[in-house]
């Protein structure tokens, strides 16, 4: 097991009191907490700091940690022979765990010691990243979790957990899903915990999701906007023919009902095509001539509102 110097991580002397430890931790939490920090390695730093505080804030764990002796950070070590009897209780294999598990295991024992009734399993949380297509159609993903489980004596062990999770169709970015009963195992008849999934959906080059609705840009040429046209619109469920009516303005939204995200219960969002009028940047002589002719023939004033408002 590799030694970690928790005091150094928090930047406090070994004889620091509980109050100093809390103060030092709070300061570092404000600096490195991923919700507030802009530092690049904030998450990693915060994990280190959190692990150190988790042990040092608890007098029993701190005493146990102090008994491990002084080593330099990163040094391979084993707890002294009598350590296990004093703090570890029953058998504990030191080979497959690290320092955090060791003290995490103590928390489990403290929590369960003296309790005889059922103890519910812990809830787990995991992040899941989906492509747009997976979110639209639903997907089966493989999830690898490292679960810390406690046996009947409250001893901790690390158990790798692999499962396939079926994600329903129509999940959106930022959504949470629940997998009942797939958290930590309950003890003595306690219910098993749940697994919560934090869903992140990758952005798509064409579609932008807004809940179950989808938005996309629909570029049309000026003459298509004036005369109207039929366009072949890509939608997540396949290409459809969309009628752009004559006189369509830029910024107008054309709605394709029920063409957004769909859920198994039948709820569906719409797909909105946001009209953009785009002009060719390269025109040949004939086209330029035609535009000039149009300009001469048209009395259309696109800035009529300017005159009204400034009169």
């Amino acid at each position: 097991m590799k030694y970690k110097d928790y005091y150094a991580v928090l930047g406090v002397p070994r004889e620091a009191n509980e109050d100093d430890i809390k103060k030092a931790y709070r300061k570092l939490a404000r600096k490195y907490h991923p919700d507030v920090s802009k530092e690049t390695d904030a998450e990693e730093k915060f994990k280190e700091v959190g692990e150190a505080y988790e042990t040092l804030k608890d007098p029993e764990k701190r005493a146990a940690y102090d008994q491990l002796g002084r080593h330099s950070a990163g040094e391979e070590f084993r707890p002294p022979p009598d350590w296990q009897q004093s703090f570890g209780g029953a058998q504990f294999s030191f080979d497959d765990i690290d320092l955090a598990d060791l003290f995490g295991g103590m928390a489990g024992r403290q929590g369960t010691r003296g309790r005889t009734g059922p103890i519910p399993g812990a809830d787990y949380e995991a992040g899941v990243r989906l492509t747009f297509e997976q979110a639209y159609a639903g997907a089966e993903i493989e999830l690898d979790l490292m679960a810390v489980e406690y046996d009947e004596q409250g001893m901790a062990r690390r158990v790798p957990h692999r499962m396939k999770v079926r994600i329903p169709s129509g999940v959106t970015d930022g959504q949470k899903l629940r997998v009942p009963g797939k958290g930590g195992k309950g003890l003595r008849g306690g219910r098993d915990g749940d697994l919560y999934l934090d869903i992140a959906v990758e952005s798509h080059p064409l579609y932008r999701a807004d809940g179950l609705d989808l938005h996309m840009d629909l570029p049309v040429a000026p003459w298509e906007a004036v005369l109207g046209t039929n366009v072949q619109m890509p939608t997540p469920a396949g290409t459809v023919s969309l009628k752009v009516p004559p006189g369509t303005r830029a910024g107008q939204k054309l709605r394709l009902a029920g063409r957004g995200f769909k859920r198994a219960d039948g709820t569906a969002g719409h797909l909105y095509a946001n009209v953009q009028i785009v002009v060719p940047t390269v025109v040949d002589d004939r086209q330029r001539e035609l535009f000039r002719e149009l300009a001469g023939a048209s009395s259309f004033n696109p800035r009529a509102q300017f005159e009204q408002e400034t009169r």
Binding site: R26, R30, D35, V179
Partner: protein, 102 residues
């Protein structure tokens, strides 16, 4: 070895919870939950039976996480942090919508 396949479900399709279950699943005490409810961080769906929608677990777990991670020991301060947190989440959601509809 065959791998078990499980179903993920929408939170709104999950069952409602009692205050005791909410405490059990979030790590907060019933007392702390009552205080957060008083501060308006979340509310029971049914005020008579004190039952909560399963989305409340997410809020309560966030509360627990923030309390632990920032070492906050004042529930009122925690409630303020949560309200601000919820405002950030709402603004982020609005930003997503605005970007989508641009």
């Amino acid at each position: 070895m065959s791998i078990e396949t499980v179903e993920a479900i929408y939170l709104e399709h999950s069952e409602q919870l009692t205050l005791v279950e909410l405490a059990e699943r979030s790590g907060l005490s019933e007392y702390e939950l009552r205080e957060l409810i008083e501060c308006g961080v979340f509310a029971p769906v049914d005020a008579a039976t004190w039952t909560f929608e399963s989305r409340s677990v997410v809020v309560a777990r966030t509360a627990y996480r923030l309390r632990e991670e920032f070492a906050l020991d004042d529930t009122h301060a925690l409630a303020v942090v949560l309200r601000l947190f919820q405002r950030i989440e709402a603004l982020q959601a609005e930003l997503r919508v605005t970007r989508a509809r641009r």
